[in-house]
Subunit: 196 residues, 2 copies
DNA sequence: GTCTATACGAAGATAGAC
DNA sequence: GTCTATCTTCGTATAGAC
């Protein structure tokens, strides 16, 4: 358990701050303070400045969530994995008093000044969709249908997290999760695809 | 067709700028320039400064979309109304080169410094959900189910718009719209509720 | 209601020492 | 790799004249 290098800590801190306060409000000062990284080395680690940090943080967040998806889909069927994911979001919302959202969404919304970060966000969404779509397609669903179901799941959960933050309640997420699980369990064939 | 007063023009401009650049990047200078409103009267019209402007813009955007929902649901069934709405979003995305999103979402994400705006966003989401839920419940669906379907629709569309912006493509929105229409048309009873 | 001028702070970024 | 100092720009907000 070696301590991660400053660069990595800054990236993690940036992702955490972005998901709570947005990209614009995630200043270098805030990242320095949160990560405990040395002040003087920002432009050593990120020569292109903030745009580079934001892009790296977006990519990092995308990777973390993708890894979670891979793990969840590897040990259970899509419906159970979805259930676990919405549970994790519930915990994140409650633990942060509804301040924390998704860093990838933050990068998308303020992406007009960081095209690279926005593209990284688009790539992250695509990877999540593909992971989900492949898992769904393994259960006797056509690839096209699996893809549109996967997009719906990703979009609906991201949207539900936003509504939940605005209303300071997990109820919207609960309702969305219920509908998604109902739809998914009614569409896929539980018998197929089971390598579990 | 009288020209709206400066205050109203500033509110509209703020909403337009917020949906493209976010709350933080919507500066007074930008609002002044976009609206053509007089510089010196900002704090005359908005004594509480930017927080007040952002709250007003969020409320305004919520009202505009709610009015659109009322109109669409008044002249057609929920499925057709949904179709019209996603079409409108497609146009907004394409016309803005995928820069424009939803001002209410923007207010939610950067709502840690404008609690009033965030609350207005939560209220807007709730009204949209209620409008949709009532319309769905009129078609032989239980109120609880109608509510969760309505939340899913709102969340999924907002999420799809975000994914579409990140990927600079309307495809995600197309897939989500297709799934939502399929789900909705398969759940509601077209014969019921028809005052059309 | 609208103007100009200005105070004040914070942000991103650069330069040069160590 | 990390430090400090500094430049520049831009933001919100206020004061006081018209």
């Amino acid at each position: 358990m070696t301590r991660p290098d400053p660069r990595q800590r800054m990236i993690q801190s940036a992702a955490l701050l972005m998901r709570e306060h947005g990209v614009e409000a995630t200043s270098f000062s805030a990242v320095i303070e949160h990560s405990g990284a040395p002040r003087g080395s920002i432009y050593h680690h990120f020569p292109n400045g903030k745009a580079e940090l934001v892009e790296a943080a977006t990519r990092y967040a995308g990777d973390v969530i993708a890894a979670g998806l891979v793990a969840a889909l590897g040990r259970s069927d899509p419906v159970a994995a979805l259930h676990g994911f919405t549970n994790a979001w519930r915990a994140t919302l409650a633990d942060s008093d509804f301040a924390a959202g998704c860093p990838v969404v933050a990068a998308t919304l303020e992406g007009d000044r960081s095209p690279a970060a926005r593209d990284a966000a688009g790539g992250a969404f695509d990877r999540w969709e593909t992971l989900l779509a492949d898992a769904i397609a393994a259960h006797a669903v056509t690839p096209e249908r699996a893809r549109s179901l996967a997009t719906l799941v990703v979009a609906a959960i991201e949207g539900a997290v936003i509504v939940a933050r605005a209303q300071r309640s997990t109820d919207p997420l609960d309702r969305v999760a219920g509908e998604l699980e109902l739809l998914l369990s009614g569409t896929i064939d539980p018998a197929a695809g089971g390598s579990h």
